[in-house]
C-alpha cells in the first residue's frame, strides 16, 4: 500500500493546522457561517439533520489495519460508536461536534488519512476496484494509477473550483466492479499489442440526469494519462455551466456538445498539455508502483477447502472470490445483516475487521462501493477460522450480490437533502426475503435505494432500483428495473406510479415472482428483464 512521503504528510498536517484555526475563529465569532461553510466543506464536514457529519476519504477504498483501527477509535471517542461505509468507498460519522473536528483530523493525519476533497466542487476521492491487486481477472493492479491521480488531483490549483463536483474511477479488469462508466471520468486500463494504456470514458453519472459515459478515447499511453485527464478537466472547467447547478456536471456538457466534439476539443487541449510536462518521470511512477507490490503469497499453499460445515460452505460459495494466486481467496465481508443498516459497522466490528486483516490478509482491507468490506489476500486454509470469527461478530452474512445485499444511502434518517427514508425500506426488503434459500434461488440481484434524486444509493444502476420522493409531505417510492453499474452498464426504467413503504416491498415481491416464472436457464434477473421487457413486470405490479 502507498505510504505517505514527507510532502504528503506535510500537506495533510498543514491542512489540520489551518482548519483548526478556522474552527477556532468560527467558534470565537471571527468568521460567520457563510464564510465558514465552504471551509468546513473542503474538509469533509457537513451539517446534516442531527449533527455535523464528517466524511473521511479512503483512497480507492484501500486501507490497512492501523488506519481501520483509527476509524474505530474515532467512532468510539468522538461519535456514537459506529461508522457508515459509503457508496464512494469512504466512511462517514454522523454525530460529530464542531469543536472535536480538529482533533479528529489530527488523529486521521497520524495514520495518513484525511477528509480533504470529500466535498466541494473539486475532484473527489478516486475510486477503484475493491479487488484490485487480488482479482484473478485483472490486467494489472489499477491502484498505482489511482494513487497517481490522487496526487495529481489533491489541491490541484486549477481544479479546486470546478463547475461541480468531479468523480473519477480506475479499473483494470473486464468485469467492472466500480461502476466505472457512471463516473465523470471512468478509466479502464487496457492492453493493445502487449502494451497497457488507458481507455477514457467521460461524462457518466447518476443523480438528476443519469448518463452512461461514452468512450472518448480508446487508448491513451499510460505515461500520458495525467495529461489526458488534465485536458478532459480543462475543457470541462472552461465550458461547463456555472449558471445552473442542475446542468453543471460534465455529463451535461458532453451531452450538449456531443461526445465527438468534446473529444475533439480534448484532443486539441491534450496536444498543448503534453508540452507542459505534467506526467511524472517513469522513476516517480515506479516509486509509487513499488508500494503496491503484491504481498508475498505462497502459491503452493493448499487449494482445497474443507466444506464439511454447511453454513461455512454457503458463505464460501457466496462471499469468497477467486484470487490470482493459487491457494488464496478474496473474502467479502457483508455489512448487510437482515434487519441491519447497510454499510454501518460498530467500532468493535471495525476493530475486529482490522485484527482479522492483520492476521489473515496481509494487513489490508478494502471498502467497496456496495458498502461492504473486503479482505483481499486470505489463504484458503485460513478461511474456516476466519469465518468463525466473523460469524461470532455478526459479520458472516452470506449474501454478497443477493437481494438483501442492498446499497442504501442514509436517506431521511440522517441526510438533509433526502426526501424519504432509505434504510427502513432496505430493512423491510431484507426481512421479506430473509430466507437464504429464497435469496439464492433468485441469484444475483442488485437492489439499490436512494432517498432523493441525487442518487447516492445508485438507484439508476440497480437491477431493481428504488427512489424515495416527497409526495405532498409523505414518503413515496418509485420503482426502477433493469439498471446495472457493471460492465453491462445500463440505466433503470421507472415502472410507473410510486408506492408507500410497504407497497414497494410488495411490488418487489411481485417483480421477483415474475422473474422466477419467466426466466430461462442461467438467466439473472436483469437478463430476464432485458429479454422480456417491462410489460410483464408492470402487469404483475399494477394489474
Amino acid at each position: 500500500m502507498y505510504k505517505y512521503d514527507e510532502y504528503d504528510q506535510q500537506m495533510v498536517d498543514a491542512r489540520v493546522a489551518e482548519f483548526s484555526d478556522q474552527v477556532r475563529r468560527r467558534l470565537a465569532g471571527e468568521i460567520t457561517e457563510d464564510q465558514f461553510k465552504p471551509l468546513r466543506l473542503m474538509n469533509g464536514l457537513y451539517l446534516q439533520l442531527h449533527a455535523y457529519m464528517l466524511r473521511v476519504a479512503v483512497p480507492y477504498g484501500t486501507l490497512d489495519s492501523r488506519q481501520m483501527r483509527m476509524l474505530a477509535h474515532i467512532a468510539r471517542k468522538y461519535d456514537r460508536d459506529y461508522g457508515h461505509f459509503t457508496t464512494r468507498q469512504n466512511l462517514q460519522y454522523n454525530w460529530i461536534k464542531l469543536e472535536d473536528a480538529p482533533a479528529i483530523l489530527a488523529d486521521l493525519a497520524s495514520v495518513e488519512m484525511h477528509a480533504i476533497q470529500t466535498s466541494g466542487n473539486c475532484i473527489r476521492n478516486i475510486s477503484s476496484d475493491q479487488w484490485a491487486g487480488a482479482a484473478a481477472d485483472e490486467l494489472t493492479d489499477p491502484r498505482p494509477w489511482a494513487e497517481l491521480l490522487r496526487q495529481w488531483s489533491s489541491f490541484h490549483p486549477e481544479f479546486s473550483y470546478l463547475p461541480r463536483k468531479f468523480k473519477i474511477a480506475v479499473i483494470a479488469a473486464e468485469e467492472d466492479r466500480a461502476a466505472m462508466r457512471l463516473h465523470d471520468i471512468g478509466i479502464q486500463i487496457v492492453e493493445r499489442d502487449g502494451v497497457h494504456g488507458a481507455a477514457f470514458y467521460v461524462g457518466g453519472g447518476m443523480g438528476r440526469t443519469p448518463m452512461v459515459a461514452p468512450l472518448i478515447k480508446d487508448f491513451v499511453p499510460l505515461e500520458d494519462m495525467l495529461s489526458y485527464a488534465e485536458a478532459c478537466l480543462r475543457v470541462y472547467n472552461r465550458y461547463g455551466r456555472r449558471d445552473n447547478i442542475y446542468k453543471a456536471r460534465i455529463k451535461i456538457l458532453i451531452h450538449e456538445l456531443g461526445a465527438e466534439e468534446y473529444a475533439r476539443q480534448v484532443e486539441e487541449e491534450y496536444a498543448h498539455v503534453k508540452s507542459l510536462g505534467i506526467d511524472p518521470p517513469r522513476a516517480e511512477f515506479d516509486r509509487i508502483a513499488a508500494q503496491f507490490a503484491p504481498p508475498a503469497l505462497d502459491a503452493s499453499a493448499p487449494d482445497a477447502i474443507d466444506r464439511s460445515d454447511p453454513d461455512f460452505a454457503v458463505w464460501v460459495d457466496q462471499n469468497v472470490a477467486a484470487h490470482k494466486v493459487p491457494g488464496h481467496a478474496i473474502v467479502n465481508i457483508s455489512l448487510k445483516p437482515v434487519g441491519g443498516i447497510p454499510g454501518d459497522a460498530s467500532s468493535a466490528q471495525i476493530d475486529l475487521m482490522a485484527d482479522l486483516a492483520e492476521t489473515y490478509s496481509h494487513d489490508e482491507l478494502r471498502v467497496t462501493h456496495a458498502q461492504n468490506i473486503v479482505l483481499p489476500h486470505v489463504r484458503k486454509a485460513d478461511l474456516y477460522a476466519l469465518w468463525q470469527k466473523l460469524d461470532e461478530a455478526g459479520l458472516a452474512t452470506p449474501n454478497l450480490d443477493l437481494i438483501s445485499d442492498i446499497i442504501a444511502c442514509p436517506g431521511l434518517d440522517y441526510c438533509s437533502l433526502a426526501n424519504a427514508r432509505s434504510i427502513p425500506v432496505a430493512q423491510k426488503i431484507a426481512s421479506r426475503f430473509a430466507d437464504l434459500g429464497r435469496q439464492r434461488e433468485l441469484g444475483e440481484l442488485k437492489l439499490k435505494i436512494s432517498g432523493c434524486i441525487n442518487a447516492c444509493g445508485h438507484h439508476h444502476a440497480g437491477h431493481i432500483g428504488i427512489l424515495g420522493v416527497d409526495r405532498k409531505g409523505t414518503e413515496n417510492y418509485q420503482l426502477l428495473l433493469g439498471g446495472s453499474g457493471a460492465e453491462d452498464v445500463s440505466l433503470g426504467t421507472i415502472t410507473g406510479p410510486g408506492f408507500d413503504e410497504d407497497g414497494v416491498v410488495d411490488a418487489i415481491e411481485r417483480v421477483t415472482d415474475t422473474y422466477l416464472a419467466q426466466r430461462t436457464e442461467g438467466e439473472r434477473f436483469v437478463d430476464t428483464f432485458r429479454r422480456i421487457g417491462m410489460a410483464p413486470f408492470k402487469e404483475a405490479i399494477y394489474g
Binding site: 442531527h50 449533527a51 469543536e99
Partner: protein, 98 residues
Amino acid sequence: MKLLTGNDLKTGFVTWWTGADWSLHIEDAADVGEAGDAIAAAEEGARRVNAPYIIAGEQTADGPRPAHIKDRIRALGPTVRPDLTLKPADPAAGDWVI
C-alpha cells in the same frame, strides 16, 4: 404555529427556540409568530445557533410538533436507531414521527 429551529453551533445538535433560550426538546418549542426572522438573526449573531430556519408546526396534546416529516425526524432522531434518539428508553417515543 411557527417554530424556530437550528443546530447548536458547537455540537451540531438540533435545537428549538423556547421563547427565551434553546432546547433540545421539541416539547419546549414556542410559537415564534412573525418574530422568527429577527430571533434567528440575533441568535445566529450571538453564535448560539447555526443555520436557523422557521418551520410550520402544530400544537398537540403532547406539545408542539413539526408539520413536515423531515423536521419530525430531526426532533427525535433517526427512526432506525431508537437507541440514539432523545428518548432511547421509551419505545413509543417515535410513534408520532412517521
